[in-house]
Symmetry: C2
Subunit: 426 residues, 2 copies
């Protein structure tokens, strides 16, 4: 099945909006095994839109539209596509009632909105549970057009509730997929580790790298969902065998979304002491709802005087090893853990750049330490040739992964372990 | 002049990549007064690409391509467009030397990369200062095609250095623009304040809302840059008259990028005590290089016990007013300012959601306080019907804006001012 995406809206052509809808739908269609041959963006101009729809209808089996279902005179997608698909629009009293009800406590329905209740005579309407404009579906000469709103959350909800199922039927059989989230190896190392598993046709697997981590999407198609799931699970198991605890999660993206529930479940608490990450780690942890059950205190200790006073880092440590050192990181971790009476204390100190690098400790040198009270694990990172934001992000990734590993009783690769008096053992 | 954007790459059709290039170019062309009529994404398929280029060449004056200039067999944009534009590609020895040099310390040039040195015989090559693939320009039958790399930073650098000037010439005259960054009013209030200034044809002004703030882009066209700049400055001055200190910056985006240099310049220091924002404010401040000159200490005090112990918030305050109250925010601000010996202390406490709201203090209720040691200013925010991330972002925006206003001696709208013993005055 050949598909095309058509996004309608002059605001897209002016660059006022980033077209995230196109990426979302591309991914979803890829997961359904439907090939997208072309994506177009066109303004709110009925002649140009009609020309594009004519062309697309001639060369593709499925057209997915977003945008142009609003109440204003500019919103012409439905009227234009109806014409090209030889259908007509009729008033749907049920939809009109819904729209009226929506506006009842908002000062009454503007006259304009009535046109949102127009639905195809031959085609179908598609329920919109988040807004006033229903989606619509037209069929003509072997081509199907599905029109969805342009507002991303309305579109996504409609797609998930009502469109995906229809497409699955059209594509025949069932398609299921899962995402494995991996922290540790970079994209190319991962490709070396699992390259041979990326080559199958069904199930398929694809690598994605972003935000200082990597993900693998495993997708399978079968006659029904059970058959598809069995195929997917077979391949997923092979990735699990190969990658083991490098996979931090299936489906939940973001290490913080794994670490927070993990510690909440174990009734363990975490505290953070950050220098170069400047609060990024605390911010990621507290971005998860319910973090207050495992997080009491985070300190952003930029100045050495604050590292001494709040965290109890020893003046002799700062003098002998410097503020950016494994011993300082270890003492920060011990200090915050003690101060917050937490189960885990994290200490991060490093050089995020652009200034501050030296020959021994270039920009990108970061020490990440996690203390459990009696012992502390410290990693030295070299996030070279990177921007400040990447150095910071990567440091917070390592910190979260170290906590995850300690909470699960896993080894921490490339970390050194010290006792309470790190400086003496160094 | 009618323009089209064409992005080439199967990875875009699969949704692996968000098409930020299209938005960037749309904005830039809009600023140059060039109308984009259509944007297309097409895969690495020479027949489909050729068909699209034929069609586009017939209906538009300018085609801007991104992607498909790489060294692999899939990268066919240059070859395909050359054919449609009746031009041919010849080897450019200078480019080949550059590519060889680039690979010299990387183990030698792979044979594939030689094709990146092919340039148009009739058309032009466009220098790439960030990568190995030069851009190219073809002209045929009144249509100009410009091909740039797909890697965003290579494309942007090439656009800024070599393409924008060419387009300006093609569009005739000079175009200049400026961006006014505004914090305070929402998009619709701003539209009421300056709606009449948004209607001109030259200079033009357009509103953009994102990340809990609004921006106005003022663009003018003139016979030369001087004339264009004079027109732009006239309209900019009218916005300044109307909006005054609501404009926090011209061109530098992000309140942290204004507040950090402002305090560094005044040799003033800031400290932060955050509850519901969980380190977001500290993180924004320390994301700016050089923040260590104005920032020593940020505390993320989630637990009441930590608010008491680290910040000295009074048990009686917590008991009488609660952790989410203006008095607690004020005492947090005083506490961190004293503890860090800073000029300004910020305290933020609130309910970011999704849980924790009450009838009196629903989700989105946040108190932001800024202390100068003797006095404290407190604002109550109601960021209603918003996600956790928006409540947090908006709170950090208000905090930064309050600091900016205090540092500049401006009034803080909607804030109450207390002395040292906020609880007694309340």
């Amino acid at each position: 099945m050949k598909a095309e995406l058509i996004s309608v809206g002059t605001e897209l052509l002016l660059g006022d909006i980033l077209n995230t809808n196109a990426q979302y739908l591309s991914k979803e269609l890829a997961a359904l095994g439907i090939t997208v041959h072309r994506e177009s963006v066109i303004g709110d101009n009925p002649d140009r839109l009609a020309q594009l729809v004519e062309d697309a209808k001639g060369r593709s089996d499925l057209l997915l539209f977003t945008g142009g279902l609003g109440p204003t005179g500019d919103d012409l997608t439905k009227e234009t596509v109806a014409r090209v698909f030889h259908d007509e629009l009729v008033l749907d009293e049920g939809e009109l009632d819904k729209i009226r009800m929506y506006f009842e406590c908002r000062g009454g329905m503007p006259h304009n909105n009535e046109k949102q209740a127009m639905v195809p005579k031959r085609g179908e309407k598609i329920e919109n549970t988040c807004g006033t404009a229903p989606g619509v579906l037209f069929r003509d000469e072997g081509c199907t057009a599905i029109l969805m709103p342009g507002v991303p959350h309305e579109m996504r909800t409609m797609f998930e509730r009502s469109v995906r199922g229809r497409l699955m039927e059209m594509a025949g059989g069932a398609i299921v997929s899962t995402m494995l989230h991996i922290f540790g190896p970079g994209e190319s190392s991962l490709e070396e580790m699992v390259g041979d598993l990326l080559e199958g046709a069904n199930p398929t697997a694809a690598l994605y790298a972003k935000n200082c981590e990597v993900a693998v999407r495993v997708t399978a198609r079968g006659a029904d969902e059970k058959e598809a799931a069995a195929l997917r699970d077979q391949l997923t198991a092979r990735f699990r065998e190969r990658l083991g605890d490098l996979i931090y999660s299936e489906d939940a993206e973001g290490l913080e979304n794994v670490v927070v529930p993990l510690l909440v479940g174990k009734r363990q608490r975490l505290a953070t002491a950050e220098s170069c990450t400047g609060g990024l780690l605390a911010q990621r942890i507290t971005s998860v709802g319910g973090a207050s059950e495992m997080f009491d205190f985070g300190a952003v200790t930029y100045a050495s005087s604050i590292k001494r006073r709040i965290l109890g880092v020893k003046p002799s440590t700062l003098k002998k090893y410097g503020a950016v050192s494994s011993v300082t990181a270890a003492e920060m971790a011990f200090g915050i853990q003690r101060e917050a009476k937490a189960d885990f204390g994290v200490g991060i100190t490093g050089i995020a750049g652009p200034g501050g690098g030296t020959a021994d400790k270039p920009v990108g040198t970061v020490y990440v330490a996690v203390s459990t009270g009696h012992r502390v694990w410290v990693k030295r990172l070299s996030v070279e040739h990177s921007e400040r934001s990447r150095v910071r992000r990567m440091s917070s990734q390592h910190a979260l992964d170290m906590v995850r590993r300690l909470a699960l009783g896993l080894e921490i690769p490339d970390a050194r372990c010290f006792g309470r008096h790190a400086a003496e053992e160094f």
